[in-house]
Amino acid sequence: MTQVNIGLRVNGKKVNETIESRQSLADFLRETLLLTGTHLGCEHGVCGACTVWINGAPSRSCITLAASCDDAEVISIEGFKDDPQMEKLRSAFISEHALQCGYCTPGMLITAYDIVHRLPDADDNRLRLELAGNLCRCTGYKGIVCALRRVLGPPSENG
């Protein structure tokens, strides 16, 4: 099996590892670094459960090779521990009952984090469109949309 060395920052810490070149970032996080907050729902890029933050954007860690993350800045759900915006999202998720089994939740939060930064004026239709890459089998999405709405405030007139 081809091995490669990678050096990257994960949740703010420098990490150097020798890995199999075929290993996905999700497996690297979960199995090598034991960061199990990143979940796997499909392992083929559809469900969004594995969404992590790579170099400032949400990305699917199941179809990202760890080897391609050399020098990257990766943040998984564990890395957002004290982030004030994420804290707001978390409490909105609680108030709006935006999670049931909690399996989609880490990926959902990271996508939501991206939405509140990128689209502060989004209306509900836009929120739904932006959430379309993250599947949730439990909630029917209403709570998730409401949680985002709670954080963003009422949609602006010309939103």
Binding site: R30, G37, T38, C42, H44, H97, G102, L109, N134, R137
Partner: protein, 783 residues
Amino acid sequence: MANTGIGAAVARKEDGRFLHGRGQFVGDIKLAGMLDAAFVRSPVAHGRIVSIDVPEQFHEAVFTAKDLTGLKTIRANSGLKGFKSSEQPPLASNKVRLVGELLAVCVGGNRALAEDVVDEVFANIEELEPVTDMLSARAPDVPLVHEEWGDNVFLETNVDTGVEAALASAPVKISRRLRMSRQCMAPLEGRGVVAEWNHRTQQLVVHTATQIPHIVRTGLAECLGLDESAVRVTAPDVGGGFGYKAILLPEELVVCWLAIHLHRPVRWLEDRREALTASANAREHYYDITLCADEEGKFLALDAKVTVDAGAYSSYPFTACLEATQVASILPGPYNFPAYRCQTWSVATNKCPILPYRGVARAGVCYALESMVDLVARKINKEPHDVRLENLITPEQMPFDNIVNKHFDSGDYPECLKRAAAAIDVEGVRKRQVLGEPDGRLVGLGMGIFNEQAAHGTAVYSAWGIPMIPGYEQAFVRFTPDGGLEVRVGIQCHGQGSETTLAQVAHEILGLDIESIKIVHGDTELSPYSTGTWGSRVMVMSGGAVATACEKLCERIQLIGAHLLQAELEDTQVEDGYVKAPSGQISLIDVARTWYHRPQDLPADVDRQGLEVTAGYKLRRDDGTFSYAAHAAVLAVDPHFGTVEIIKYVVVEDGGVLINPMIVDGQILGGAAQGIGTALYEEMPFDENGQPLFSTLADYVLPGATEVPNIHIEHMETPSPYSLFGQKGIGEGGAIGSVAAVTNAVNDALCRVGAEVCETPMTPRRILTAIQDAKSQRESVGT
């Protein structure tokens, strides 16, 4: 103190860990020395195994049926007369009966390495002609899934109250053939198991993603030939169930066998392809159905022949027949029917077994019956909801024993329907339909009303023949020395919020802060036996058990408290964490400390069983509770693309007394999203060779945030007379009425161009075909 008892929309105690990525799912468990397992699966649907070739260098890493000594096959026998038994082998040794059946297991240091070994194993299989269509499966001279049976029918059932007269003379008689496709339940987390042999406790410890840990333990012990006490099953956090995780898996058996024989922990994590193609599916019903009515739309009779494609094996514990037997017992729905006949067949085919998916047979039944109601309404030119009102059981009739002796406990079904009609604005939609849409889309309105039997018990399940019949549900409660409360229950919570709602129940009785109440579940070692979480039973059954145990505990606390306060027992009460008497009060912590650490202060007649109680609970009637709801949808069908957009969606639901309204709404919303999937998107098709055609979530379409509308919910609260607080089970209803509401709305839109779809999901292709067929028919009539 803010109310955190029954009826309060308390925030969930379990949310914190998930929001920080600290949930603990099976896939998160890593044990020292753990191996990963991967399975070699059958590439064909039906065949005879000639050989399984394993290259020399992999002999140590590959195990086939002949290696698995001492393992029994999985048998889930229905108690119903005429049932034919199937034996599901942990690894196939002779015949394969479905694509994906297990042939061999490979182990490696991680999943990828185990899968590398899978690629090296070659299965030489002589193909047999498969049975892939449940209707032709009953024809003479077809291949047999289980040769020894002589046919392909697990079970045939009949109910007949005499319908011939109505069939002969009814002024309105509508017949249809309706199909509900095979589906995958698709919780976001797949199944998974980690097993190890613990030498200290001499136990097999199995961490598995299950809804039914105690039942899995019973099944594992039986098949592995171990004492039950030598098996501990724990379900950690489980990422959704919906029925998919209420099964004893052959994979579980194999992984346990490996852990015992390799003396190392072994893990298997199902991938999405396995989940979609090789594990259990759900539904696949076919209805040949006739509804008779008079000119006013009053129902005269219902007659149906129903076939369910149960796949190759009867799965443990729910059997291959629960689905079809349930159809026969619930098809009359919430209506008055003077006559009813239903014949059912649970048919074996070369496909995965089926499991009861959220709503079980009800989603199909409600779809079929409510489709027929709309057709009758169309025929006699009435609003469908008026026809429903004409036939619904009225509150004056409650409690009501229907034509098949279902005992409906309570409620006002007509009021529920009227509220839904008002909320969806039937008149407004009808006007809009007359005006037409500027973009040429066809607007449709649909409704579905149903009742949902939940928490039903002994008598009901023995009639359905399953081998695992629920009786008394138990809870164990223990008051700890620091005045906290441990509550241990045998159910398993995988999203329903039971860690919160059961604490609310305990709080209601004892008045303790819910933060100091800890719910322990999902572990056979730590909880009383339970059939687990399914059938919308937890809030009623486990809730009842927790309350009963807390009441007993309360009596003991009160006795000690009265003694310490030097008060008469009848002058004291337990409230807000205190035993209170006119002379003063004493905190429950003091009572606890007295029992544990200052026994010299206890009364002489103290209950010697102390501050631990196990109590059992059963409903006042085995029939369970009947929640009910009306779903109503308005949608627009694009006649050029066949796509559907849901414009408005309302649910009026009566779940009796709601323990936590926020969580109830969550159940309805999530269920409705799944029902929308059933109605419009989700299907697992097979080709004529029995090959499953979808293997990714890109083919098997789950509804996303753009497909599920913003659903509006209204509540009615008619308490159940039979449950402890008047609560009713509501966990599945969302997935039931939604299918009917959406499919009826599609057909309401399509009837404007003379088209009709008789199959779920109503995909663009099916909608366009229906429109095209209607057009061709008009043209051929025209010429």
